[in-house]
């Protein structure tokens, strides 16, 4: 903290000196961009800003790493209250409803583009990605920046050792259980695990089977949406997982993405999780890994539909100067350029933002050279339904925590799947009522 403060004050001093020396000649407009991309992804963000800054002279985008998603959001909220919010803020997908409800705090991206006179065609964007960030009237609210979706990662070496075909990953949940049983018989201690229980096993699961997660089109239709993920199909799935847990086929590895490390290390042989894990697996895993579509129940009509996104989008904050908004628009337009977006997609494993970027990537032969990278894309590039467009609910981060809490009781055998789901729905709905009240004010 101290060093960063010192560095910041030094930077400020330097900036002041520079400003005095070169004020009239270089009237660059600075655009502050707060993000949560650490490590290799941080390099990616910095490169994007650097390349944009080099591509023109009027604006300078300054990316600032502000900690994890929830931290940068809390930081930006505090900054907004104090009157010095950044221009662009990266917000994780579960924060979308909160941002949307804060009308005075943000400016819709569509409006920013329009006022800056930038040509902006929402149809160019991948529907399942952009749809999540689009208002009912068709206006894009935030810019889809880094989106991932839920897939099944599996360890090909472990499959071979268990006598399974490494090129034929399980596609349905019964097949997952069967493969897990074989893996266990071959001595594997953790045949199957999952990260983000709420996201992979309930939210994306619902969209994949084209059933509602919450009423009102999963919250897209209004603030009075209520959770309904205790339907017979959901109970059946959680029962299935609980049975697998009892037999040692599914091993719970904690909340959030903590399970990811157990797959990358080789401890767990299969994992449902984010497609964004690809880069990490490629870098660190000492085995040959495969990516398969998220498993489903083949007897459910309409399945598989499409999975839903995770990741984050870029929000434009309110209360800035018109000139600055022009810069924001120019930068977002730059990010959406097919060659830039395709490069981002290839570099990070995040989904392509626009259809053109996808086609460009396909043409370059990237998917052939890196098998599995197209799984997430094909899961997403489909026409979405009202039930599968995504989940947009207030207090969604807390609802995920509630799901974690209740499911832990189920995996431990202290609650039945039905009890756990019912209780999670009841507690979650209390939060939704509360959100509806505070957002209406």
């Amino acid at each position: 903290m101290k060093t960063s403060l010192l560095a910041a004050s030094k930077a400020a001093l330097l900036a002041a000196v520079l400003a005095v020396n070169s004020a009239p000649a270089l009237a660059q407009t600075e655009i502050q961009w707060w993000h949560s991309m650490g490590g290799g992804l941080g390099d990616w963000v910095n490169d994007l800003a650097k390349d944009f800054n080099a591509s023109q002279k009027d604006y300078k985008v300054v990316p600032v790493y502000k900690g994890a998603y929830d931290e940068s959001m809390a930081g930006a909220i505090a900054a907004f209250r104090a009157g010095n919010a950044p221009h662009i803020l990266q917000v994780f997908e579960v924060g979308t409803a909160t941002m949307m409800a804060s009308k005075g705090a943000v400016v819709p991206v569509g409006q920013v583009m329009q006022q800056a006179g930038v040509k902006f065609d929402t149809a160019a964007y991948v529907p399942a990605v952009a749809g999540y960030y689009t208002a009912p009237n068709g206006q894009m609210l935030s810019f889809p920046f880094n989106s991932s979706t839920t897939v099944l990662h599996y360890n090909k070496d472990a499959f071979k050792a268990a006598g399974l075909d490494p090129n034929k990953p399980p596609s349905s949940w019964p097949e997952v259980a069967a493969a897990a049983a074989k893996l266990k018989a071959s001595g594997h201690k953790c045949p199957f695990t999952t990260s983000w229980v709420g996201w992979t096993q309930l939210e994306s699961f619902s969209a994949w089977h084209n059933v509602e997660y919450a009423t009102k089109n999963n919250g897209f239709g209004g603030l009075d949406a209520r959770l309904v993920f205790n339907s017979p199909l959901h109970v059946r799935h959680i029962e299935n997982l609980a049975n697998m847990a009892k037999q040692g086929l599914f091993v719970y590895k904690g909340r959030g993405n903590t399970a990811d490390a157990t797959f990358v290390s080789g401890e767990c042989a299969m994992e449902t999780g984010s497609s964004g894990l690809y880069a990490n697996i490629k870098k660190s895993a000492k085995f040959s890994a495969g990516i398969a579509p998220l498993p489903y129940y083949p007897d459910v009509p309409g399945a598989p539909q499409n999975t839903i996104i995770g990741g984050a989008s870029l929000w434009v904050m309110a209360g800035k100067k018109p000139q600055e908004y022009k810069g924001v628009a120019a930068f977002l337009q730059y990010l959406a350029r097919p060659e830039v977006a395709a490069e981002s997609h290839k570099r990070t494993g995040y989904l392509p933002v626009t259809k053109a970027a996808y086609e460009l990537t396909e043409k370059s032969g990237f998917y052939q050279a890196n098998p599995g990278t197209d799984v997430a894309v094909t899961q997403m590039i489909r026409k979405t339904t009202d039930k599968s467009r995504g989940v947009r609910l207030g207090n969604l981060p807390q609802i995920r925590t509630i799901v974690d809490e209740e499911m832990e009781q189920v995996w431990a055998g202290r609650k039945t799947p039905k009890q756990g789901l019912d209780e999670a729905v009841r507690r979650g709905n209390e939060l939704l009522e509360r959100f509806q009240k505070s957002a209406k004010l």
Binding site: K103, G104, K253, N395, A412, R427, S438, L441
Partner: protein, 295 residues
């Protein structure tokens, strides 16, 4: 308390001036934030503070209708009791031992005081690493001895983990005070007792312990406050309140709702409740425990 010395100031303003710096600090860092919490506990606002609505006691009503919140009182009581008792017991033992060390006393003391400099979140992560199921050093060892450690699903294991981390972090502080207390006990008393043939055990309980009682009492209050307020970082890093809500103590929920969920009204209401609980506890301690203290 019989013989109090009273210092009388002639001037009327001097005592106020002398008090002013302390009063300013307390006002700024305690009374102002506390009054803000009181105010916010009666409001409901959206995340960005764009709309603020007075909701009266709604936030409190909501809290006490939440069975999870009420259960968290029990969790907090168990956690605080364990942290205070274990923390005080172990550090008293260590201080007594360290007080008898002749050679290299400084080294022992420094090592024992060290953990105090560790941030709570780091302490949580440190213990989490040691006890991580299947990869942690300790859980691996336990596994080999035939004990299945899994704090992700077993509530007792989770509680043991956060208590251990919280106690470990507080031991240094307690140790420091106990050691100072031990060193201020006149040697002559202990020597006289030894000459009279009292065993070390007897000497400890009849002389050392009573003379340490002011220190112990002070530390009891401090430790309870520590367990109540200062441990959310450890819990957040080690268990995030899980499994279920089995390690979600009151202050963790305050932190979670306020800083992660950005529900300032609800979080403020909880901190008001928490403040009331600690005030009551401290009053009880001063009323009933302090009577047994010899100054």
């Amino acid at each position: 308390m019989s013989q109090q010395k009273r210092v009388l100031f002639r001037s009327g303003w001097l005592p106020w001036v002398l008090l002013a710096p302390q009063a300013a600090v307390i006002g700024m860092f305690f009374f102002w934030p506390a009054s803000q919490a009181l105010l916010q506990s009666l409001q409901q606002q959206d995340a960005f503070g764009l709309s603020v609505d007075w909701v009266g006691l709604d936030n409190f009503r909501q809290l006490f209708n939440d069975s999870g919140y009420l259960a968290s009182f029990r969790t907090t009581a168990v956690f605080s009791l364990l942290v205070a008792v274990l923390g005080l017991g172990i550090s008293l033992l260590l201080a007594t031992m360290a007080n008898r060390v002749v050679r290299g006393a400084m080294v022992y003391r420094t090592l024992l005081i060290w953990p105090y400099a560790v941030a709570p979140a780091i302490a949580g992560v440190l213990w989490l690493f040691m006890f991580a199921p299947s990869i942690g050093v300790v859980s691996y060892g336990l596994d080999r001895m035939g004990f299945q450690w899994n704090h992700l699903l077993n509530p007792d294991h989770a509680m043991a983990l956060v208590v251990a981390a919280a106690v470990w972090k507080q031991i240094s502080y307690n140790f420091l005070f106990f050691l100072a207390g031990l060193q201020s006990i006149p040697r002559s008393l202990l020597e006289a007792a030894a000459i009279d043939g009292a065993s070390p055990w007897k000497r400890f309980w009849t002389i050392t312990f009573p003379l340490l009682s002011p220190t112990s009492f002070f530390l009891l209050v401090i430790n309870v406050v520590y367990a109540f307020f200062d441990t959310f970082g450890i819990i957040d890093a080690a268990t995030q309140g899980g499994p279920g809500k089995d390690t979600a103590i009151l202050v963790y929920k305050v932190y979670y709702d306020g800083f992660k969920a950005m529900d300032l009204g609800g979080s403020a209401a909880q901190s008001v409740v928490l403040m009331a609980v600690v005030v009551v506890l401290t009053v009880i301690q001063f009323r009933f425990v302090e009577r047994k203290v010899n100054y």
